[in-house]
Structure formats: C-alpha cells, structure tokens
C-alpha cells in the first residue's frame, strides 16, 4: 500500500520570519530570494512536491 502525505503542506520556505509561525510544518529560512528559489527547488525534488508562491515572501511545497 502506498502511504504518504497528499494535499498537505510538506514544507515552508520563507525570507520573512514574521510571516510564518508553524509548529508542525518544517520551515526553512532563506536569506534572499535566490536562496529561497534554490532551497525550494531542492526540496521539491526530494519530496516530489510542487512549489507554490504565496507572494508574501513564502513558498510552500505541496504534494498533489
């Protein structure tokens, strides 16, 4: 049986610490947009998830 997270936020990558307060979802802080892009890309490849932009400095990764 295939067990896994689906339609869940798997990770948050942000450059604005004030916008995120999460105790359950792994959160990654990036120093600038370039690093955020890179982390998001790497995480999406690891989790096979999709990167979504929340336009407030944060990206979320969701597996659909």
């Amino acid at each position: 049986m295939d067990v896994g997270f689906k339609e869940n936020i798997l990770a948050i990558i942000t450059i604005d610490k004030n916008k995120v307060s999460s105790g359950t979802v792994p959160t990654f802080y990036a120093k600038d947009e370039e690093e955020r892009e890179r982390i998001a890309l790497l995480l999406s490849k690891i989790t096979m998830g999709m990167v979504h932009d929340l336009e407030n400095g944060s990206y979320v990764i969701v597996r659909h």
Binding site: E37, A40, L41, S44, K45, M48, G49, M50, V51, H52, D53, E55, Y59, V60, R63, H64
Partner: protein, 305 residues
C-alpha cells in the same frame, strides 16, 4: 451437430472477422501488441463459436446448450473487469494519467466488442438456417448469410464509433500569461507555479488551447473531470510531454472557465506545434461515461434559452 457445419463454420469466420475489424492497435497501443492482441483474438474466436452454435443447438432441441450463452455473457463481464484491473495497475506508471473514466470506457468497449462478435456470428447462423429451411441451396444460403453477417459487422462498427471532441466543441489556440505566480490561459487560472525557473519554461515552451463547447450538452460533457483527464492524457501521448515524475509543475491541467464552460489547457510538449496540439485535442474521444445530454429534457432546453 456435424450436420450443421455449413452453419457453424461461416458464422465463426464472420464473428472472427468482426473481432479483427475492431482490434486495432493504434497509437494508444491498447490492446498491447502482440500478447494483448493475441488473447483478445482468442476470446473473439470463443465468442464467435458460442454465437454460431446457438441456432444448431436449438434445432437439435439441445436447450441446455443455449444456456451456455448466458454463461458466455458472464465470461465477457469478466473481460471488462480484467481490462479495468490491468489498466488500473499500470496507471501509476503513466506520466499523465488516463483517469478512471477513460479506463472504464476502454473496459466497456472490450466487453461490448465481444458481444458484437457473438451477435454477428448469431445473425449469420440465423440467416443460413432460415434459408436452408426454405429449401434454398446450401451454397446460396451460406453466401447470403456471409454477406448479411459482414453487413452486420459494418453496421456495428459504425454504430459503436464514439464521437470526438471536435464533434462537440471548437478547439482554438490560446495564450499563456502569468499573473504573479498564477499560470493563466486566456484569463482562466490554472495553477500556482512558485519556481521562477518553471515559469520561464512555461513562457518559452508552453502552448495552450481553449475548447469552446458548441451547445449545453457539450458544456456538461466537458465539465466532467474524466473527460478532461482523457484530453490531457491524449495530448501528452500524441505530442510527447516535457516532464518527469519529479516535476509536478509541468503536468498538463485542463481547467474550466466557470462563467461560460469553456475548457482551457496549457501543456509543455516535446513538439512545439500549436496546430498539432489542436488536432490532438480534437481527436480525443468523447467518453461514454462523461457524456451528458441536458438538452434532451424540457428543463435543460428551457435552462439553455
């Protein structure tokens, strides 16, 4: 039973011909060649024999033999679930899924084709039997039965041909734009693509279509998720898709414009050719399980006005 060779043999031949005429391994590669085709051919021969022995069995007052037809029906229902199961099993290996509705449609087609094989054999045997009973020479009876059987095969083939998307809607090229991270096609939001690199790839290599339904029936049919999945699958198969399993960003998604029921789809094909994409979408079959006909009711007619 050997007295009825002149009924059984021509009927089996017609039945098998009917199955072969419906056994096309085209671009869908389903049934897969050579093993899938072979097993379906064998099943076709079995169903043709069942159809052809029914009349001789009745003539011999072997009524028990006729009940075998009922058994055959059960057998072919199994064909349907077999096909469904095997397609379900390979579904996770598809880059762009077929979708359950498409699978159901294919499975249904396989069941129906076996019945058609049986029916064409049955029709042939009935014609030959009647002609012989009317004291017409056996040779003539066989030839006429054969021809009528072939006519039945052609009729069935026409009758079961499914509509294409082109029959119910107009397909046009559309524009891809980004509203922030939101991928939009002709103003309809498709999905949120976060990575800038993916957005650039969409802008460079993405093409899109808008499917404009011709009437209220088509609007309802195209709204079906299974129908849209089939369109995505077909477009991805025919044009090739620039995607791998770890790139969900590049999955083609057909979204509906809730205002007017138009469906838009963006895709990253291997072959950057809008005309081919339009052809691929137009040639997708309209799934039986997706088809709706609100216009054939009073309520639907009035609502459409």
């Amino acid at each position: 039973m050997f007295n009825y060779v002149y009924i059984i043999v021509p009927s089996i031949i017609v039945g098998v011909l009917s199955r072969i005429s419906m056994l096309r391994s085209d671009y869908r590669q389903y049934p897969s060649y050579p093993q899938g085709v072979f097993s379906h051919l064998t099943l076709g021969i079995i169903s043709a024999s069942l159809g052809s022995v029914a009349i001789p069995a009745i003539a011999e007052k072997e009524f028990a033999a006729v009940t075998f037809l009922a058994l055959a029906a059960q057998q072919f229902r199994d064909v349907r679930s077999l096909e469904r199961q095997s397609l379900d099993n390979i579904e996770p290996t598809e880059l762009v899924a077929r979708g359950t509705a498409y699978i159901e449609d294919i499975a249904k087609a396989f069941e129906a084709r076996n019945y058609m094989t049986m029916l064409s054999a049955l029709i042939t045997s009935i014609i030959i039997f009647i002609f012989v009973k009317l004291n017409i020479r056996i040779e003539i009876a066989v030839v006429v039965g054969f021809l009528v059987g072939l006519g039945a095969v052609i009729f069935f083939n026409r009758y079961i041909t499914r509509e294409k998307v082109a029959d119910i809607a107009e397909v046009r090229a559309a524009n891809i734009t980004f509203d922030g991270p939101l991928l939009t096609v002709n103003g309809v939001f498709i999905m949120n693509i976060g990575l800038k690199a993916s957005q650039e790839i969409y802008q460079e290599r993405g093409i899109a279509v808008e499917i404009i339904p011709k009437d209220a029936n088509a609007v309802a049919t195209l709204a079906n998720l299974g129908q849209r999945q089939a369109i995505q699958h077909n477009a991805a198969i025919l044009l090739g898709i620039r995607k791998d399993v770890d790139e969900p960003d590049f999955t083609p998604i057909a979204r509906r414009n809730p205002h007017n029921g138009n469906v838009v789809m963006a895709i990253l094909p291997m072959e950057l050719n809008e005309k081919r994409l339009i052809e691929a979408v137009s040639s997708t079959v309209v799934l039986e399980s997706a088809k709706r006909k609100p216009l054939s009711t009073n309520v639907g007619k009035k609502a459409a006005d």
